[in-house]
Chain length 313, copies 2
Amino acid sequence: MQRVVVALGGNALLRRGEEDTAEEMRRSARFAAERIADIAAAGWEVVVTHGNGPQVGRILLQQELAKDEVAPMPLDVCVAESQGQIGYLLQVAIGDVFFERDMERPVVAVVTLARVRPDDPAFSHPTKPVGPYYDEEEARRLERELGYSMAPSPHGGWRRVVPSPVLYSIVEAPVIERMIGEGAIVIAAGGGGVPVVEDGPRLVGREGVVDKDYASAVLARDVRASVLLVLSDVKGVYEGYGTEGARVMATLTPNRAERLLADGEFGEGSMSPKVRSAIEFVRSGGERAVIAALEDGLVALEGRAGTTIAEAG
Amino acid sequence: MQRVVVALGGNALLRRGEEDTAEEMRRSARFAAERIADIAAAGWEVVVTHGNGPQVGRILLQQELAKDEVAPMPLDVCVAESQGQIGYLLQVAIGDVFFERDMERPVVAVVTLARVRPDDPAFSHPTKPVGPYYDEEEARRLERELGYSMAPSPHGGWRRVVPSPVLYSIVEAPVIERMIGEGAIVIAAGGGGVPVVEDGPRLVGREGVVDKDYASAVLARDVRASVLLVLSDVKGVYEGYGTEGARVMATLTPNRAERLLADGEFGEGSMSPKVRSAIEFVRSGGERAVIAALEDGLVALEGRAGTTIAEAG
């Protein structure tokens, strides 16, 4: 049986233009769940990963507004909270769709930790904005009083910036591999996983955000998936994006993808990390990676939509 | 190999007199983790369950204080959030202690759902207080505008009350059983599990709170544990509690425990649900249940501290 890691973009639980409520999240989770069920029904073992940007942003804003009465939790704890929240909504949605289709499969969401290096240069150069917007005076106060790194946002106002270290393994990968081997659909690596460093014999949570697509690539490698399927709201990797002749490339070798990355073809938006993760997965021994739109799910996995990144063969 | 479900009381993550901060939670989690490691080192397969009262209370208060800017999530989603938060802290603490003791065992925290009946009488008689305190005027407004049930608190002020339905099974029990059979330490059923009802083919989350000790008993039955170990900050089941001659009973049969319950011997505090859960577990085929202090961990599991509930034999 073939095995796939399906990485759901932020839009899988909160589509553009939707309200940030539990009802909208349940509706979006259901849409994603139907795509997952299509894939499982076609005979694939499935691990589902997901983003957590809007959700952890909401938790951080709640903490900020309540801070005079409730001690805020550090970011590692907030990421774990968001894994519980999103994992629950996805688990119920996937379980429902499976049940309706008479496909009884256990669905389980696990708290996931991502090992990062304590000397990762990201720790001295925090760049990833998280949480609410502040005015400059408040931002300066947070720098002084809490030691936060703050940076002006291109959208106006100031935001906290945290390190985005590169993970090298997923702590729970061996357990996850066993669970999928036994037929479970596993939801894992939410938000890229909680970043932890090894401090002697101990694992210590760090305030930071791991790239979720890259975490999905590392997990896919560690659970020996043959395919990494990255689903979001874009149709695939475009050639000439933003020009009149823009078109989705059906296939791409890791070498060619690397050249396009180096040429700045994908900008610094959300496509670059997806392409980097796809290259990483294929280079680490994965058969292929596919970058596609959520609605194309199984069709993309079968190579009939989106962009397949694989060695020419 | 024998199997135990260790139910950690609320004090396992937030001991009396401690501040409600991540640092204190990590310290308390470590204390509990050492007890868990003692038990695993003695050759037991272990599932860890835990309460979430203070933590979900904190999340609800944050939601309340931030509600003008962030849409609050319903209680089922908040319970799942608290499972992520506490599961993470326990997982890291347990993993650390194991590593220090050269006991490599995977540790995994899973989002857990508790099946309850849609016609459970609790749904028309909400009694369990959750979240922040309000004055009467605000309480009345919440009743009108959000349909909450509100009740005056014995401690002054008003609080929201939610149903406390009785679970009949844990959705993830089969997966959990497989994971522990393969040597993992599994953290599950946090806060009693997220209550869900079956609505045709679908599972629907309900706003309510499941008793965590009872959920632990049902999980212990479903994963075929031989022992349910309920650890909190009381030494065991007292005879003559509150009198000068008060003493911990070393053993108790389910029949005797039931008579003492019926006689109101344990009041309506936290001991009654523990005793009820112990009876339930032994009646459903469990070998024995032990109610003891957290610090007595393994000693209690071996029957040398706390109160053992078992058929006379």
